[in-house]
């Protein structure tokens, strides 16, 4: 009896090449005769471009050409926005690859320089003289939507790109008017810088003879990049090959198609030689999309007994200077639809206003809309608890949706697939020793120490998603995946997938799925991805969808192969197919276990085709398109314990407990890794990360000297637990787990800190909770009415 490979925490096969630096990224690929592109970028957030003088730059050694938007003319179409939210009065202002007449954020491209050397290209870019007429700039989305704000696009009146409404306003008002308790808060979801370890890069090679363009780039979705590059260059899609070699993290920031990718393509087509561009980290912070950027006005209605009645919010979502590829979908579909969370709350209302600003364009960043929803929900649940004098854990317990196995429809119209929220909740509380904590908190308080605890219960929507839903919500693509399982004559497997993993460990987990289904040793299975010519079509890796969607396609393709193998094995053993049994990669005849054909034997015979059953085609390969019937909905409970140093405002995260349910775990080590990384990113939003702009739109946190990336010594060892609730609609029952940590951890830690600060009278602090802000809040609250300490409430 072999040990099951499904569920085994085998080591990630990706790691040796990544850890030893042997992996080949876009920038590692060298082509003879390549020209290097440097981009002249606007130093102003909002400015008319009066004139551009490139004569000095053009005269410099090694410089081949300098181009502006005028030179490009109609050679490149504007970059499309690919999520067109219906019924939202959406405006999609033109997004030219190089600014036309006006720059709309610091870093907006104004000209490109092509030179034989990267240094010379940069020297020449510095020598391009641009005369700007600076205009007033606006960064805050609520301010940008207000009276008198500078107009950023002439065709986007009031800077309002869309206005999306979810729910019935009057019905919501009625619930709030009748409620015992209404709590409210203005929540800032600060801008975050995704900071993938590998900055973006793009290299294009156009072959004038065949009119074929190959684009190597840092993409989470090369097939979407092919689609868009074909559209903006005018090349037929079958003449465009996009290759995402090794990609060093994305977190959403490598979903969009950026100007730089279009520009290297155009320049290579123009000059007939390869053109390469690699982003510096400084550029990465200025021009690669940012995440979040919401100003939210949130209210929650509740009954005095703690029953949650409804939530409503007005959200001003900053879009930046242009609408990035998927940007409109993030603060709408991926946000509002999560307003019920794991609760039996049946009134939801959201008005989400997408606002053009002079910031860097925003788009999907790990969690993408769902962290912003979970945060406001969990923040308001704690506020309700405090307002009515009830333990926030009791409020959650009272309102959790009871366990369900196959479908639960909520007020946002989503049908959650499966869940047992109370089980994960109680398990996490047990692990944390919640019952004892309040006593510890009280005794610490007696010593002048401020301990706090935060508890988040969440569910989220991932594994994006049914294509029919994608169409209905305006996503300009499908959301299915396809995969081919190809077995060589010697019994080795190539699994070709359309998705494009970039650090998640999918090469390992997907191989485990195939191994489980077909019995090939996992080390005999290669997972191949990231090249539109080599791999079948797929919509990409984001939204925690690769394991749920691609994994399902692979499981089903494997099952087709297995059925073929069973029939062929029966034929070869001259037995009735119905008598063929399968176990551990071997087919045998019922009742005569000595007679057996291994899967490798069968694969060889299928390739040789010397003795095939009537009507069976030769070869051993199957493909599957898989369109999920529903999203998957992982869930869980996270708990944080913090101590605040009231003298300095410093926060120590002392414990972090995460109980997540992503269905059956294919590889528990990789699941744990995803949760660790997600938690770190989410905690960092609560405690230290945040892009800050000056009033005139300069990014002040333009490097890691000022933008606080989380560091290992900020974190305790995480205490992980799990429950296992399979998805009823998925072939192997799995749900996504790439974003749960980020979604759950920000409110968990935030609420823990505010719990610790309650006896000091602090009720709200904008994220990130830096020591300086916490200390100032303590000073400001000094002498104000003190909210009740929860530990005391429990003792009353």
């Amino acid at each position: 009896m072999s040990t099951r490979i499904f569920g085994s925490g085998i080591k990630r096969r990706e790691d040796p090449r990544l850890i030893t630096g042997e992996a080949r990224y876009t920038d590692d690929i060298k082509l003879p005769g390549v020209l290097h592109m440097a981009v002249v970028r606007s130093p102003y957030a909002h400015a008319n471009i009066v004139s551009i003088d490139s004569s000095a730059a053009e005269a410099m050694d090694g410089v081949v050409a300098v181009y502006t938007s005028e030179d490009i003319g109609d050679g490149l179409a504007g970059l499309p926005t690919a999520w067109l939210i219906p019924d939202s009065d959406l405006k999609t202002p033109e997004h030219p690859a190089l600014a036309k007449g006006k720059a709309r954020y610091v870093g907006d491209g104004v000209a490109i320089v092509l030179a034989d050397d990267r240094y010379r290209a940069q020297d020449a870019a510095d020598a391009v003289v641009v005369d700007y007429e600076e205009l007033p700039a606006v960064i805050d989305p609520e301010e940008a939507a207000g009276e008198g704000a500078p107009l950023i696009h002439d065709d986007v009146e009031g800077n309002i790109a869309f206005r999306w409404v979810m729910g019935d306003r009057e019905a919501s008002d009625a619930v709030f008017d009748a409620a015992d308790v209404v709590v409210s808060e203005r929540i800032l979801q600060q801008r975050l810088l995704p900071t993938a370890m590998e900055t973006r890069a793009a290299m294009a090679q156009y072959n004038p003879a065949t009119q074929e363009l190959t684009l190597w780039c840092t993409s989470q979705n090369p097939h979407i990049h092919r689609f868009i590059i074909s559209a903006v260059t005018g090349l037929n899609e079958n003449k465009v090959r996009v290759i995402a070699p090794e990609v060093g993290g994305g977190f959403g920031s490598k979903i969009p198609c950026y100007p730089d990718e279009a520009l290297v393509s155009w320049a290579s087509m123009k000059l007939g030689v390869p053109v390469k561009w690699t982003e510096t980290r400084s550029e990465n912070y200025l021009i690669t999309i940012h995440g979040r950027d919401h100003v939210q006005h949130v209210e929650m209605a509740a009954a005095n007994d703690g029953t949650l009645l409804g939530v409503r919010a007005t959200v001003y979502a900053g879009m930046g200077g242009y609408l990035s590829t998927a940007a409109p979908g993030i603060p709408t579909i991926l946000h509002g639809l999560l307003y019920v969370g794991p609760y039996t709350m049946d009134s939801v209302f959201c008005e989400s206003i997408g606002v053009m600003t002079n910031g860097t364009p925003t788009d999907a960043y790990r969690g993408a809309g769902r962290p912003e929803a979970t945060f406001l929900l969990e923040r308001m649940v704690d506020n309700v608890a405090r307002e009515i004098g009830m333990d926030p854990v009791e409020v959650r317990r009272k309102n959790l949706i009871p366990a369900f196995e196959d479908g639960y429809e909520v007020a946002t119209t989503l049908i959650y697939d499966s869940g047992d929220y109370p089980a994960a909740f109680e398990k996490a509380l047990d692990m944390a020793g919640y019952g004892d904590f309040r006593a510890q908190q009280n005794s610490a308080a007696a010593e002048g120490r401020y301990l706090g605890i935060g508890v988040t219960t969440y569910t989220e929507m991932c594994g994006l998603g049914p294509s029919q839903v994608a169409g209905a919500v305006g996503f300009q693509g499908g959301l299915w995946e396809s995969a081919t399982v190809r077995v060589t004559p010697t019994g080795k497997v190539q699994a070709l997938i359309g998705a494009s993993p970039h650090g998640q460990g999918s090469e390992t987990t997907l191989a485990q799925i195939i191994s489980e289904e077909l019995g090939f040793p996992v080390d005999d299975i290669e997972v191949i991805h990231g090249d539109t010519t080599e791999t079948p079509m797929g919509w990409g890796t984001y939204g925690s969808r690769t394991t749920p969607v691609t994994g399902a396609a692979l499981a089903q393709a494997s099952r087709k192969l297995k059925e073929k193998a069973r029939v062929l094995a029966g034929h070869l053993m001259e037995a009735n197919v119905d008598d063929i049994e399968y176990a551990d990669g071997s087919f045998s005849v019922k009742g005569s276990p000595d007679q057996a054909q291994s899967i490798q034997d069968v694969a060889l015979m299928a390739h040789l085709a010397w003795n095939m059953p009537e009507g069976m085609d030769p070869g051993f390969e199957e493909s599957q398109f898989y369109d999920p019937p529903n999203f998957v909905y992982p869930f869980g409970t996270h708990i944080a314990v913090v101590e605040v140093d009231a003298e300095t405002g410093e926060i120590e995260l002392q414990r972090y407990i995460a109980v997540d349910d992503c269905g059956p775990q294919i590889n528990p080590e990789i699941v744990a890794g995803q949760i660790h990384g997600g938690v770190v990113q989410g905690v960092a939003q609560a405690l230290c990360e945040g892009a800050i702009y000056s009033d005139d739109g300069q990014l002040l946190t333009g490097s890691m000297m000022d933008y606080c990336m989380p560091k290992a010594d900020m974190f305790p060892n995480f205490e992980l637990g799990e429950t296992v609730t399979p998805s009823p609609h998925h072939p192997v029952g799995v749900k996504g787990v790439g974003e749960t940590g980020t979604i759950a951890s920000t409110p968990t830690v935030y609420n823990a800190v505010l719990d610790a600060l309650a006896p000091l009278g602090v009720k709200q602090i904008d994220m990130p909770l830096t020591a300086a802000k916490v200390w100032s809040a303590i000073q400001d609250a000094n002498g104000q009415e003190k909210p009740k300490r929860l530990g005391d409430l429990l003792n009353e």
Binding site: D123, T648, C688, M704, D706, C708, T770, A771, W775
Partner: protein
């Protein structure tokens, strides 16, 4: 990430380095302050004279006073038993610079020549009365640390001059500590406080205090020192010093968007208390 063009010369001796440096040239030691600035094109020297290979500039000697060669790395200083004995605060400060890779390359001479206000070693050098030994084409001179640090990224070094070494009085009979509140992004000091206490039969005979990070340069804090000297360093004295230090640095405050001046000023008091406690432990 793409510095401007520059010439590079590796000098074999101090004399060669001084003879070679051009008007737009800079000396390069560990490169951990200068190269990042050049990569961002915030500075563009036309020539780098690398002094990293000059043996006479490196090493620690402890004959009476402590003498540390300019190209001695932070890691070497932090690990030196002589420094730990004769100026424990400097060993501690050098052990808190950057990360291990930075400490293995970065040098004390390069560090103080760069004069980042939030760097750690200058604060201890000012507190402990270090002397900066300088050589130029016209000869050598010595400047007290307090005078050496003039302002933000500004020192008493003249063009073409080179730091050769740093000397410190033997402070092995002091209780000396450097305590730092690191910026969570950069790990530079939001505030760093160096304290050296000479205790005589339970009474503080001499107190030396300096603050960095919160200030445009490392600042010697006479008010705090006066509040401690002559006392038993009891709670009252410590609290008085913590108040006084805020006035001592009031004219020199620095801050950033996340940690403003006012906050750093208050934290100087908190971290002075912690530094005194660390010095006495």
């Amino acid at each position: 990430m793409w510095p401007n063009k520059f010439d590079y010369l590796r000098a074999g001796s101090v004399d060669e380095a001084l003879a070679s440096i051009s008007d737009d040239g800079k000396f390069l030691a560990g490169g951990h302050s200068l190269l990042p600035v050049m990569k961002l094109r915030l500075d563009a020297p036309e020539q780098l004279v690398d002094i990293g290979g000059i043996d006479s500039l490196s090493g620690i000697s402890a004959n009476g006073d402590l003498s540390i060669g300019a190209t001695t790395t932070h890691a070497e200083i932090a690990a030196s038993a002589d420094v730990q004995t004769m100026c424990a605060g400097l060993a501690s400060a050098c052990g808190q610079v950057g990360d291990q890779a930075v400490r293995n390359f970065g040098t004390i001479g390069g560090n103080i020549a760069h004069a980042d206000p939030a760097s750690d070693p200058p604060t201890v050098l000012v507190a402990c009365g270090a002397t900066i030994n300088i050589q130029g084409a016209d000869g050598s001179r010595s400047v007290g640390a307090e005078d050496f640090f003039v302002d933000l990224f500004e020192t008493a070094l003249d063009d073409g001059e080179l730091i050769t070494s740093v000397s410190l009085p033997n402070c092995s009979d002091c209780r000396c500590a450097y305590v730092k509140f690191p910026h969570p992004a950069s790990r530079y000091a939001i505030v760093g406080v160096a304290v050296c206490l000479k205790m005589d039969d339970g009474t503080c005979a001499q107190a030396d205090v300096a603050v960095g990070g919160a200030t445009v340069k490392a600042v010697k804090c006479a008010g705090a020192e006066a509040a401690l000297a002559g006392t038993t360093v009891d709670d009252a004295a410590v609290n008085a010093a913590a108040e006084a230090v805020k006035s001592d640095i009031a004219d020199w405050l620095a801050g950033d968007i996340a940690y403003p001046e006012s906050y750093r000023q208050q934290m100087a008091g908190v971290f002075l208390k912690r530094a005194i406690a660390a010095a006495q432990s």
